[in-house]
């Protein structure tokens, strides 16, 4: 049943696939990101985050599946997508001979809408000198410039590929400042990829864990924290676990200690756990986001 009152999602990926020779870097990815939300894509290096974002922006050919951004099929009309999406890449390749002011003028000429006031404010905030050439800019300045030209056209969707990797803490804070100001516009959807938990915890409403080209987790961040719990139980001598909760994502038995992480914990799991297994001393622990992700990855590795 189609709900015509609900606006289409900002991003809709269906079975998105990318292969490099025998290796499948992105494996049938399905993802829907509603408008106005902030989505964090996390995963180890090589998980396929950059590749996914580049396919979405029409910069990499799609091997299978489709990517629909702001209602537009990227393969069919990449120009329409680029006019409405601001993108900040991980590796910057802005013309090194241009001056900062020239870069802004150059980019500005391609957009129908440009918030000159915001641009001037950010230029000030980031302490960028319009006369400096791009090749004279430090990595941090370059990142800030890239962010400036990405948000000044007031795009409906902002895509950031590992935006803060390699930035020193002071520049990181300035960059984060710029991103947060952009996020205050509630109409804007933000999609960013990162391999640091800090960014996800701070910025994301919803998080997706990408591992070997597949989405292992897709959940609101707070839900993940409150619903994922680790259970620690002590097994009786010579006995192995017999029954696991349905949403177990990882488990390990070491000596008499049985650790298991459950994706959707509720108190009524415990009586059954105690009943079906020969255990005593059952304890429930909270997990940090980092632990949650690690356990999902460990669980996947174990299953492979």
């Amino acid at each position: 049943m189609i709900d015509v009152s609900r606006p289409e999602p900002a991003v809709w990926l269906r079975g998105l696939t990318k292969k490099y020779g025998p290796a499948t870097v992105v494996d049938g990815l399905d993802l829907e990101i509603p408008r106005g939300s902030t989505f964090g894509l996390i995963g180890p290096n090589g998980a396929g985050k950059s590749t996914t974002l580049k396919m979405m922006m029409g910069m990499l050919s799609i091997d299978a599946g489709s990517a629909t951004v702001l209602g537009v099929d990227v393969s069919a009309d990449p120009t329409a997508v680029k006019r409405r999406v601001g993108y900040v890449p991980e590796i910057h390749s802005i013309y090194r001979w241009m001056r900062v002011g020239e870069v802004i003028g150059f980019v500005r000429s391609f957009y129908p809408k440009w918030n000159a006031g915001l641009c001037a404010d950010l230029l000030d905030l980031f302490e960028l000198d319009p006369k400096k050439k791009v090749k004279q800019l430090s990595k941090g300045m370059l990142a800030k410039l890239a962010l400036l030209v990405a948000v000044s056209p007031e795009p409906e969707l902002l895509v950031l590929d590992e935006p803060m990797s390699g930035l020193d803490p002071i520049v990181r804070e300035e960059f984060l400042d710029g991103v947060l100001r952009s996020m205050c516009d509630s109409e804007r959807t933000v999609l960013f990829s990162s391999h640091t938990i800090d960014d996800i915890q701070r910025l994301a409403d919803t998080v997706g864990l990408l591992y070997q080209g597949r989405l292992l987790v897709h959940s609101p961040v707070d839900d993940l924290l409150t619903r994922t719990k680790r259970i620690r139980a002590v097994l009786h001598d010579g006995v192995l676990p017999r029954w696991l909760p349905e949403t177990t994502i990882w488990q390990r038995v070491q000596r008499r200690e049985w650790l298991l992480t459950v994706g959707d914990f509720s108190e009524d799991l415990l009586p059954r756990l105690r009943g079906e297994n020969s255990v005593h001393d059952v304890e429930v622990q909270d997990l940090s986001l980092e632990d949650v992700f690690k356990d999902y990855v460990k669980g996947r590795k174990g299953a492979a």
Binding site: L180, R181, D198, L203, D222, L225, D286, S288
Partner: protein, 130 residues
């Protein structure tokens, strides 16, 4: 108030608890205006949505009230409600501590000894800070 992104407590809850303590302690008094969502988000370096949700929760707890077009203010009974909520959080922390102690098979007497120890140690430390 600082956010610990490594904690297992969701950020929005950290903000709620942080503001509860601040209001209970009198940093924000009844009727005073609170920072806007945008300002607080940039200050704490977190998603504005999260700050918005924290404010909504505090509104639900009747610690703060929102006046449309003007901003968020500490409710008349705000400090009292905040104290109540703060007590709930403290109680939960105590519960976790006692659970830990029981797991290690400590006796009730020993637990009380440890508690008194910590209490005098912490109050000494905060007195030295002032």
């Amino acid at each position: 108030m600082r956010i610990d992104p490594k904690s297992h407590v969701p950020v929005f809850r950290q903000i709620v608890e942080g503001l509860q303590s601040a209001i209970a302690a009198g940093i924000y008094r009844s009727g005073e205006v609170l920072p806007s969502v945008r300002v607080l988000a940039i200050d704490l370096q977190v998603n504005p949505n999260t700050v918005q949700r924290a404010y909504e929760e505090l509104e639900r707890q009747e610690v703060i009230e929102a006046r449309r077009g003007v901003g968020k203010f500490v409710a008349r009974n705000g400090p009292r409600s905040a104290l109540g909520q703060a007590e709930v959080a403290v109680r939960e922390a105590f519960e976790r501590g006692v659970d830990l102690a029981c797991d290690a098979d400590l006796s009730k007497t020993r637990i009380r000894e440890l508690f008194n120890d910590v209490l005098s140690q912490q109050t000494e430390a905060s007195r030295a800070q002032r």
